[in-house]
């Protein structure tokens, strides 16, 4: 039985990492129907900027703040320099632009930082906590707690504030949103900045566990995207559920079936779920009027 709890804890920790990345996809998708494939790069930036600022002698909390600011500035630049000039283009074109941006950011990080792996000290020590026979890294609590806080913030923002409602309105129908007086350009910029901030925070929280390097974003974006699809694109709770489920599938797959096929196992389950429910577990069923 202690094995079971160890797998559970492993799964929840990796799952929370995926959930944080998936969460970043949600905001931009809600505002613009665009899947921002540069999301993984913001996670990388959050980690890398913190590592390098911390190494330069900046205290950790300040370094983390700097990292979030850098992420947000780059997220806004991504919008103003690449997405806004292409307004009117289809969502697919915009998605391709974000893929280009992710390659650019990765290449730039390789030059600005370096090609090595880096770590951050865990926020509250490295001594594992024993729970029900499982050893848990204290940082896991930070990741899981951080995810919970961000989901809550995002949920409150989208459902309880006027600005959040404007984001949802923009997502539902950009033209109609503009007719009722919503400045959709500002909303989109806000979404990109916000998702970059979420990515940056995610990068800071997970780096003590996962380590970071200039290309760490690629796989995280892929797994985060899979998690977001599984949970239902655009729903913050779905992103979290999808992320945790993916993490648990991987951990239990590796633990009880075979570590060689753990990724295959997770993706087979995702395919099966999407086959049965194409909109994901918590996704809104889209109805198109012909």
């Amino acid at each position: 039985m202690p094995e079971f709890f160890q797998f559970l804890v492993s799964g929840l920790t990796i799952g929370a990492v995926y959930a944080l990345v998936a969460l970043g996809f949600t905001l931009v998708y809600n505002a613009s129907d665009v899947v921002n494939f540069a999301q993984g790069e913001f996670v990388m930036l959050g980690g890398m900027v913190t590592v390098f600022a911390h190494a330069a002698g900046v205290p950790l909390p300040l370094a983390a703040l700097v990292a979030v600011i850098v992420s947000v500035v780059l997220g806004l630049s991504l919008y103003w320099l690449a997405i806004a000039p292409a307004r009117g283009a289809s969502a697919v074109s915009l998605i391709i632009i974000t893929i280009g941006a992710s390659i650019l950011l990765r290449g730039a990080a390789q030059i600005v930082f370096d090609k090595q792996f880096h770590k951050l000290p865990a926020f509250s020590g490295d001594t594992p906590v024993q729970m029900l026979g499982a050893a848990v890294q204290p940082q896991s609590f930070w990741v899981i707690g951080g995810t919970a806080v961000m989901v809550l913030l995002l949920y409150v923002f989208l459902e309880r504030t006027l600005l959040g409602k404007a984001v949802l309105a923009t997502s539902a129908n950009r033209f109609a949103a503009r007719l009722v007086g919503i400045n959709t350009t500002t909303i989109m910029a806000l979404a990109f900045g916000g998702s970059a901030a979420i990515g940056g925070v995610a990068g800071i929280l997970i780096t003590p566990i996962t380590l970071t390097s200039y290309d760490v974003g690629t796989l995280l974006a892929l797994k985060g995207f899979a998690a977001a699809m599984l949970g239902g694109m655009g729903n913050p709770l779905g992103a979290v559920a999808g992320g945790l489920l993916l993490g648990l599938l991987e951990a239990f797959g590796a633990g009880y079936i075979s570590s060689t096929y753990k990724d295959a196992f997770a993706f087979i389950v995702i395919l099966a779920v999407l086959f049965a429910a194409p909109q994901g577990l918590f996704g809104r069923r889209t109805i198109e009027r012909v």
């Binding site: 094995e3 990796i14 390097s213 760490v216 951990a251 590796a254």
Partner: protein, 393 residues
Amino acid sequence: MTCHSHFKSLAIAAAVALPLSGLSIYSPALAQQTVKIGSVLSVTGPASFLGEPEDKTLRMYVDKINAVGGVAGKKIELVIYDDGGDANKARTFATRLIEDDKVAAMVGGSTTGTTMAMIPVFEEAQVPFISLAGAIEVVDPVRKFIFKTPHTDKMACEKIFENLKQRNFTKVAMISGTDGFGASMRAQCVKVAPTYGVQIVAEETYGPRDSDMTAQLTKIKGVAGVQAVVNPGFGQGPAIVTRNYAQLGMSATPLYQSHGVASKSFIELAGPAAEGVRLPAAALLVGDKLPDGDPQKKVVVDYKQTFEATAKQPVSTFGGHAYDGLYIMVEAMKRANSTDAKKVRDEIEKTKGFVGTGGIVTMSPTDHLGLDLSAFRMLEVKGGDWTLLPPGT
């Protein structure tokens, strides 16, 4: 296609026309003074951590050799192409080195993939090629013109198992990365384990980008009778394995890493969890800790100082492989007192007792690597640094 043949006829026209121009008078003279050594390295791209130090090392030492008059009365002209880690590009550049640059010899090939793609080109052109790639496939089976300098993963397995045998451990668990390095070394370890009386009682794998290996390690923890755990892997994976290993409180069972993590960054990344981890590594890593009588001490300390002073970055074993390759080639040219490809090849094969950064190289017609297990030193992490394990412990 037509475009291509146009170019070809243009090139022929130019070749015919050139000797008539005044420029050509100088070119034969120049050709006599220099010998071209070619290289194709993965300076950029995913394998840049190999190609970058190799590139710097070659440039650095060719300048040094030229400063003291070159080799066999000729200055070395280095021609380096960057394949970006792409085997197709490597092959194209190899052809260019042979057909356009007409190199006398080749030292390069950062990865096994690029090397294997280039081998046929050099075999066909009969130009000696010293590869810097790790896998044993490069020199097994032996090909007439192909040599290599880095030790193989098979040797790393043997070194680890030799140590296990000394400690009377017979039951081990393996957790391997599924990347090329991890998969290849895992296969070699499984193959040589019976020779050392070692039984592999549990086997797990992880993806090269995985960020948590506690599930796999928990499974190993549950297997009765495991006396040691071996982790063939590369990059950040082994560092995470080591951290998770400590997290799960498994440190009482010795953990062996491979030469794939033999850089200071492993200790940094794994932190205190790395204490007590053992691994086989080249002497270069512990140059300053070698006893004064060690035959490799001078070479590795000199190389480390030269590289770090010029490149302003910490030395890596990969650059060391390029150093060894270049000097094996240059010494062969000196002994042959010629840069003729076939004479040089014969002399490379006769390399005997060459002291390089990777070990002491003695080649033969059946061994185009020329290293034995003494090339590896068994290290243990103690107090946040490597320490040399005295033989027999």
